[in-house]
Symmetry: C2
Subunit: 412 residues, 2 copies
């Protein structure tokens, strides 16, 4: 039998779990203090829902559950591999939330300000070093199209990051409507917009020259590509520049207003700026999109956007929706590497008892459990070795039954 | 697209999630105060590990993950349905823990007192009304064969149940070694022991007469069945009765000592008694087995036992182990039905603000977030209706921006 965990998954040691629990607790507490309510949705999701969810690249990374019994035999006989599964594991928390809202909206407040903090699954290629089973922390506001929602989400996410000690970060913001408008204004066809976006998304890494080469490689007309490149090569490319090419003034005003409002709230603790090349992968975004970039680690640690059409797919009636998701694993690994001195748990005490004295030991331990997490240890032959181990494991002290009523302090 | 959750899974409303979070928090806090440490293991588990885990009936209820890409094509070509999957979803937390311990034991304390509180998956037949995705709360002690472990597990589980308001319960205890010994002493063959156990497990429901008929239906020799029935028909069947037929005095003494010790600790808050017909389904148990029965609800709400051979399957060296698992879903539904008045969250406050005043509203809300969970609402045309909704949703009060600096109290 295999002792290591399945490829792309992690076992977490007690110390790691304590830190992860502490961080999740802090994030939850912050979200709740800002008036969001937590819900829980299942990990198992209908396969057809997943397939139709416009999840972009994630749809290629679905874990599918094999049918069972007669249904499996039938599926095998059909010769169609698609028939082998009718349930899958969710790849994000946005699709389950949309289904949940469609199903339960009569029992939910409006607008619905909601927290999800839970596991999602993606069959990422392991060589990327990415996890296949990981935690996301999402907040969403459903039922309002006001840009105040975006403001609240950015403000609350920033508060959660600050609460767990992530400081030096920047919010980048864009709008799918502006993005599409710029692409069309260069002369691309509407149906090529996604393909252009995928390339444009790499601007940060490959530069304008790289974007040009990739677009030409995709056989787009050279004059269209040149027009696009000259447009986006303006540096810095501000919202005023966008205005020159983008006819959707509502989208421009929306981004401008969110930036101005968040700046008033951030009080200089973090910056927010328009980023012309922010795309984000999922196909379901319809308006504002945003990301948080850690300046210390040069990577994205949170992302989200507006998805006004997803719930409509379930109920045939459009419900505005916008969400922001903290990538928990990235943050947990940053804080674990930092060896952040977080006292995730209460002080630990050991009660050491001789054979036959377990009742007295438990009763003694109970006296201290209001203040300490108390572990029982049977008295070993070499008690010095046990002291050493307890000290190493961070125990505050120990109490030896029948020897003394006093705590022997192990930590200085 | 389907709006309901997948068969056998639940969506939880904010109020339900708040209660579930509260209960899980209380259980965790109790476990930690008793010196257990939490770990996290993946939901995805190696298929071969699952298959070889001696999980009894649960192995027929495995959710298997379909292979992908070339591996899937290869598996389909092989014509062997077993080849279609090499990863599954765990059906309990004991197998993953055993694998985890085998993999990480050099970084863990001895004995290792461990908490797992997490999701497991079983493809139960939906007509049973059972969940397919549900939470278990486990504590285990690995690396010690002392019966003090059983005592600590029972004491800690009872403390957790009492902490969440479950009172009227009883612990039933047995030992696989006694069970097997009684069956052999009646004249059954060793290889029929499991089959006899499966029938004997139903004693509570079908009585001695029912057990007799089922055993005869399984074609066991009539004289052996009669001997067994006359033996188990002794009522009450005490440990002293067991002693007459069971040659394993160590097992008898072990159960007697656990019962005597737990009685000293329970202080009459709950009872513990030997139950000759307690079997428990899993094949991996090797010694003590126990259950907690709620006397208010007539159902089992926790169960566990000793599984000294499971870790050895991974490392080829036997490691004693014993665990106790609270069936969270049963308890959560009992407490939800009771409408237990649990204040799972902090008091809620609404800040109502006119259009354009989101910055002032957030700043005002922040002043109260130390004490309240504060939700922002844009001022609607009909404010009376909003007051009604807030009151209904349990808000303590609201604060209307620019009208008054005082909280308008909504709850009496």
């Amino acid at each position: 039998m295999k002792v290591t965990s399945v490829k792309g998954t992690n076992d977490y040691l007690p110390k790691e779990t304590a830190l992860r629990d502490y961080l999740q607790g802090k994030i939850l507490e912050t979200y709740r203090s800002c008036g969001f309510e937590r819900i829980t949705t299942p990990i198992l999701e209908d396969m057809e829902n997943l397939d139709k969810s416009e999840g972009g690249e994630n749809l290629n990374l679905l874990f599918k559950i094999l049918k069972r019994g007669d249904k499996l035999t039938e599926a095998l006989n059909s010769g169609n591999p698609k028939e082998l599964s009718d349930i899958g594991l969710r790849y994000d928390l946005t699709l389950p939330l949309s289904r949940y809202y469609a199903c339960n909206r009569n029992n939910l407040s409006t607008p619905f300000k909601v927290i999800q903090l839970d596991r999602v699954f993606r069959a990422e290629r392991p060589q990327k070093g990415r996890l296949r089973e990981f935690i996301q922390c999402d907040i969403d506001i459903l039922g309002s199209s006001s840009t105040n929602c975006e403001v609240e989400l950015i403000d609350t996410t920033a508060k959660a990051l600050l609460a767990i000690g992530i400081e030096n970060f920047k919010v980048r913001i864009n709008d799918r409507r502006i993005l599409k408008n710029l692409i069309l204004s260069a002369g691309f066809h509407a149906e090529d917009s996604d393909s252009v976006c995928i390339t444009f998304d790499k601007m940060d890494k490959i530069g304008a020259e790289g974007v040009r080469n990739e677009l030409l490689g995709k056989d787009f007309a050279a004059d269209v590509v040149e027009k696009f490149i000259s447009m986006i090569s303006i540096t810095p490319f501000t919202l005023d520049d966008a205005k020159k090419y983008c006819t959707d003034t509502e989208a421009i005003d929306s981004v401008a207003s969110i930036i101005a409002t968040v700046k008033q709230l951030s009080g200089g603790r973090y910056d927010i700026e328009y980023d012309r090349s922010l795309v984000r992968g999922q196909g379901y975004y319809t308006g504002t999109i945003f990301e948080v970039e850690s300046l210390d680690f040069g990577s994205s640690i949170a992302g989200g956007g507006r998805y006004d059409n997803m719930i409509g797919k379930f109920i045939g009636e459009s419900v505005p929706a916008v969400g922001f998701s903290i990538g928990f694993e990235r943050i947990a690994s940053i804080l674990m590497d930092r060896q952040t001195a977080i006292s995730a748990s209460r002080p630990k005490l050991a009660v050491i008892y001789p054979d036959g004295e377990v009742v007295a030991a438990i009763k003694k331990a109970d006296e201290y459990r209001g203040e300490y997490d108390v572990t029982l240890y049977e008295k070993p032959k070499k008690i010095g070795k046990l002291f050493g181990k307890l000290e190493e494991s961070g125990f505050y002290g120990c109490l030896i039954l029948d020897e003394s009523a006093e705590i022997k302090v192990l930590q200085k």
